[in-house]
C-alpha cells in the first residue's frame, strides 16, 4: 500500500513531450517573425543556433562565460539563502511581516536599472557591482514568496509547535520551512531567473568581460545572430535549472 515510487509518474513523460511541442511552436513563431522583420531586426533560429555553436567553439568565449557564472553564482547564494532567511523571519513575526509587506512591494516595483548608477558609485566597477545587481533583482521575489507562504501556514501547525514547546529557530527549521516548500520553490524559480537577468544587466555597462558585455557589443553592432545566440543560451540554462527545481518540487509534492 505504501510503496514509494522512485521514478516520476507516467504523466511527466507526456508533459515533457508537450513542453517540447510548445517549444517547437515557439521556434516556428520565431521563424515567422524573422521572415516578417528581416535579419536586421531578428536573426533566424538556424542562424542563431549556428552562431551559438561558433561561440561555444571559440576559446575566447569561455572566460566571458566564467566571469558571468562567477558573478551569478555569488548573487544566487545571496538571493536564495538571504531571501529565505529574511522571508521566514518576516513571515513568522506578524508585526514585522505586516510592516514590511508594502515596503517590499514598493521595492519590488522600483526599476532596479535606475538604481544602477547608485550601485556603481558604491561598489565601483567590477565583480561586486555585478553581484550586487544580481542579488537585488533576485532576493526580493524570494523574500515575498517565502514571507507570504509562512504567513499563510496552517495555524494548527504553529499551535502544535507551541504544544511541543519548540523554540523559534527550531520551529522555523522543522516546521515553517518544510511546510512551505512548494511556495518557496516557486519563489526560487523566479528569483533564479531574475538573478540571471540582474547579473546580465549589471554586465551590460561596466564590464569588459562577461556575457552581458558580449551582448552589449552585439547590440551596438547590431549583430543579431550573436544577440539571439546569447539569449538562447540564457533561456536554455534558466529552463534547465527551473525544470530541475520543478522536478524536485514534484518529488516533494508526492507527499502532500
Amino acid at each position: 500500500m505504501a510503496t514509494a515510487t522512485t521514478s516520476l509518474p507516467a504523466g511527466a513523460g507526456r508533459q515533457a513531450r508537450d513542453t517540447l511541442l510548445v517549444l517547437l511552436g515557439l521556434i516556428v513563431l520565431w521563424q515567422l517573425l524573422h521572415w516578417l522583420a528581416g535579419s536586421v531586426a531578428l536573426a533566424s533560429p538556424w542562424a542563431s543556433v549556428v552562431r551559438l555553436g561558433e561561440l561555444l567553439g571559440r576559446a575566447s568565449f569561455y572566460p566571458n562565460l566564467a566571469e558571468t557564472a562567477l558573478a551569478f553564482g555569488q548573487a544566487l547564494v545571496i538571493s536564495l539563502l538571504g531571501g529565505l532567511a529574511i522571508g521566514v523571519a518576516l513571515g513568522a513575526n506578524r508585526l514585522a511581516g505586516a510592516v514590511a509587506d508594502p515596503i517590499l512591494v514598493a521595492l519590488y516595483s522600483i526599476p532596479k536599472v535606475t538604481l544602477y548608477p547608485l550601485i556603481l558609485l558604491f561598489f565601483g566597477l567590477g565583480m561586486e557591482a555585478k553581484v550586487a545587481f544580481g542579488a537585488i533583482h533576485g532576493i526580493i521575489p524570494v523574500i515575498i514568496f517565502t514571507m507570504n507562504a509562512v504567513r499563510h501556514i496552517r495555524p494548527v501547525y504553529l499551535r502544535s509547535a507551541r504544544v511541543m514547546r519548540l523554540g523559534p529557530l527550531e520551529t522555523a527549521r522543522t516546521i515553517l520551512v518544510p511546510a512551505c516548500i512548494p511556495e518557496i520553490v516557486s519563489g526560487f524559480r523566479i528569483g533564479f531567473a531574475l538573478t540571471i537577468l540582474g547579473t546580465l544587466i549589471g554586465e551590460l555597462f561596466a564590464s569588459q568581460r562577461g556575457l552581458g558585455f558580449l551582448l552589449m557589443k552585439a547590440m551596438h553592432s547590431n549583430d543579431t545572430p550573436t544577440i539571439l545566440a546569447i539569449a538562447l543560451l540564457l533561456f536554455a540554462f534558466a529552463s534547465l535549472c527551473s525544470w530541475g527545481l520543478l522536478a524536485l518540487d514534484r518529488r516533494l509534492h508526492r507527499r502532500t
Binding site: 510548445v22 522583420a37 515596503i103 512591494v105 526599476p111 531567473a193 540571471i196 520543478l246
Partner: protein, 250 residues
C-alpha cells in the same frame, strides 16, 4: 492610521534620516549619494522647471498602456490556459525561465513591426508584465473551491454569468495580486527600456544625467520615480485591504 502603519512610517523616516546623516557627515561620499533633502529639492525643481514634464508624462503614459495591456491579455491568457490543462502543464516549466531572457533585445523587432514610436517600448513593458498576470490568474482559478462551480450549475448560470458572478469575485484577491505585480513590471519594463534604448522618457533622462555626472538631476528624477511608484502601489494596497476586510481574509 493603524499601529502597523505608524511603525512602517517610523521605519521609513528613520531610514531616510540615517541616509541624510550619513551623506552630510561624509560617511558616504557625495559623489555616490546626495542627501535626501537635496534629492527632494532637485525633484521639486524639476517639476517646477517644467522642461522634463513631457518626458515624465510620456513615461507614465507608456507604463499605463503596458499595464492595461498586460492585465487584460494576461487575464484572458490565464482563462484560456486554465481551460486547457494539458497546454498549461506544457507551458509551466517555461514560464519561470521567461524572465531570464532580456526582453529589450526584441526592441529592434518591435520597431520593425510597430514603427518608430512609443509602441515598441510599451510592448517591452507588456512582455515583462504579462507573465505575472497569467501566473496569478491561474493560481486564483485553481484555488476556487470546486463546490462553487457546483452551486453555479445548480443555479443554472450561463457561462458569462458564472464567470462574472462566481469565478471573478472568488478569484479576485489573486487577480488583484497579479495586477499589483503588473504595475511593478510595467514600470520596470518601460523604464529599463528607456534607460537602455530610447531617446525620451524618464529612464532616458536618468541615463543622460548619469552620463553627464549630473547627480542632482539624476537623483531628483529617481526620487520622483520612487514617489510615483509608491503612490500607485499604496493606493492599490489600501484598496486591497478594504476588499480583504469585507471578505474576512487575512
Amino acid at each position: 492610521m493603524s499601529r502597523v502603519g505608524l511603525i512602517r512610517l517610523a521605519v521609513v523616516v528613520a531610514f531616510v534620516a540615517l541616509l541624510e546623516l550619513a551623506t552630510r557627515a561624509g560617511w558616504i561620499s557625495s559623489y555616490s549619494l546626495i542627501p535626501p533633502s537635496q534629492m527632494a529639492v532637485a525633484a521639486v525643481q524639476i517639476l517646477l522647471a517644467g522642461r522634463m514634464l513631457d518626458d515624465i508624462l510620456l513615461t507614465l503614459q507608456n507604463v499605463a498602456a503596458a499595464f492595461v495591456l498586460a492585465v487584460v491579455v494576461g487575464f484572458f491568457g490565464g482563462v484560456l490556459l486554465h481551460q486547457a490543462p494539458r497546454l498549461r502543464r506544457a507551458v509551466d516549466p517555461l514560464l519561470a525561465s521567461y524572465y531570464a531572457v532580456p526582453v529589450f533585445i526584441f526592441y529592434p523587432l518591435m520597431i520593425v513591426i510597430f514603427g518608430l514610436n512609443a509602441w515598441p517600448l510599451i510592448i517591452i513593458g507588456f512582455l515583462f508584465a504579462v507573465a505575472a498576470m497569467v501566473v496569478n490568474t491561474l493560481d486564483g482559478f485553481d484555488r476556487i473551491p470546486r463546490v462553487f462551480f457546483k452551486v453555479a450549475r445548480v443555479q443554472r448560470l450561463s457561462w458569462t454569468a458564472e464567470v462574472f458572478q462566481v469565478t471573478l469575485p472568488a478569484a479576485a484577491p489573486y487577480l488583484f495580486n497579479g495586477a499589483k505585480l503588473c504595475v511593478a513590471y510595467a514600470f520596470i519594463g518601460v523604464i529599463a527600456g528607456e534607460f537602455i534604448l530610447a531617446g525620451a522618457g524618464m529612464g532616458y533622462e536618468i541615463a543622460f544625467a548619469y552620463n553627464n555626472f549630473d547627480n542632482r538631476t539624476m537623483y531628483g528624477l529617481m526620487l520622483l520615480l520612487l514617489v510615483f511608484v509608491t503612490t500607485v502601489n499604496m493606493s492599490l494596497y489600501a484598496w486591497e485591504q478594504r476588499l480583504q476586510r469585507r471578505r474576512g481574509g487575512r
